[in-house]
Symmetry: C2
Subunit: 251 residues, 2 copies
């Protein structure tokens, strides 16, 4: 039982329209296949998909102006955040905790200003991160990965209630069992394990972040040893990791 | 940049008073040193420390009886959970979300009935998981690991708000930087990274869980490639990962 996380090589600056899957295949020192899981930082995915917004093109509305005033933020940035937000869960001390249009819960609806090249340009989350993961898997196969291709995870760094610091989670996925269900299996004493559903894709995303550098030049990690989680079909994706609102005790 | 997670060999059933650190050194196929981080499932730590409770010795109080009635639970189990609880944050659909006496937020105050050998015996969290991690590090050095010894993480599986499934987190730590602080460093465009504190110990704990089997026979994982996080001093431990109550937007 052994898992290895290895950062792929540096890739060139990603521009809208680039085939990121091809770039990842080229950045891998070995052929990619269903023996691997490739974890990609969402930011390069968003860039390839043109999910960028120039702040000078944004006209903040009333709510954005008000929030920006209260928390000393750029009202244009707040406007972009609100445009990606379904429900604003908390607003305190300059932090906006949002349920995004995708159903993800995170700070600033995942809108990010770092690693963009210009302070005037911000990066949004992919509009459908599971579709992004499927597309990446397809592009990788087109570029030479053995079909059905590696499992693919699109990741982002999220804060957590109760705990300090961020961990990466899977916001998009294709070809990987995002939940590993141990319910019904037995422990070493033969007793049935209870309530054990492991968020395997989140765990893989978290550790991948440790194998990357934060400066953005090596945005992808290849995981070996997790082939038991890779599936032929693309599957339900990371959506399956989102807890339904009415099953959530903290919303 | 590469991280490897490798399960240590099977260890014998752990009993109160056992030197778990010695057992881990013996279960490692290679000498352990500060080039490694050893992640240990809390359950064996608790067993070595005698943190077990026989349910037939427990007399449930009024609150336990009431909660047990409402949620069809064993009142003795609920009594043990309450004895480990500082604040009951949520009680719904049979789930008790507790802030434990340690300040951890988790279901059932971490009290667990699986992998104990008897349904009448439950396992509590170690009373001071950071002290447990320090003790393990010391025991490993006594048993032959090169001083100052590997970084040590004591882990448990926690649920999360908003997301389905559990991930392992670091409830105790020694000799490891549990937070990797990237604030002030610069991205690939030279702009300062904001709000980037990586919960490295939680990320390592999460992936370690994927390298273990859930049946409890191989409760420890050796991580290579994370030596930059290992410290000479035991440090503040996993306590540093607990968000202060008044800085928490969801308590």
């Amino acid at each position: 039982l052994s898992l290895t996380f290895c950062a792929l090589e540096e890739i060139p600056e990603v521009r809208p329209g680039d085939s990121l899957g091809t770039m990842l295949v080229e950045a891998s020192p070995h052929p990619l296949s269903s023996e691997h899981v490739v974890v990609v930082c969402h930011k390069v995915v968003s860039k390839a998909e043109g999910r960028l917004r120039r702040l000078d093109s944004v006209s903040p509305g009333e709510q954005a102006l008000e929030l920006a005033r209260a928390y000393e933020k750029d009202p244009r940035m707040v406007e972009v955040v609100l445009s990606e937000t379904q429900t604003l869960l908390r607003q305190q001390r300059g932090v906006l905790i949002c349920e995004t249009v995708h159903g993800l819960v995170c700070a600033n609806a995942g809108v990010d200003a770092s690693n963009t090249g210009s302070g005037e340009e911000v990066v949004l989350l992919p509009s459908d991160p599971d579709a992004s993961a499927r597309r990446l898997r397809h592009e990788m196969c087109m570029a030479g990965a053995s079909p059905p291709g590696p499992g693919v995870i699109v990741s982002d760094s999220f804060g957590r209630p109760w705990r300090v610091g961020q961990t990466d989670v899977a916001i998009g996925a294709a070809g990987i069992r995002v939940l590993d269900d141990w319910r019904g299996r037995r422990d070493s004493f033969g007793r049935e394990l209870q309530a054990t559903q492991i968020a395997s894709a989140d765990s893989i995303a978290a550790a991948s972040d440790l194998a990357r550098r934060k400066d953005g030049r090596r945005p992808a990690v290849c995981v070996s040893g997790a082939e038991h989680l890779v599936t032929m079909a693309n599957g339900p994706g990371a959506k399956a990791l989102q807890r339904a609102r009415d099953e959530d005790l903290f919303r």
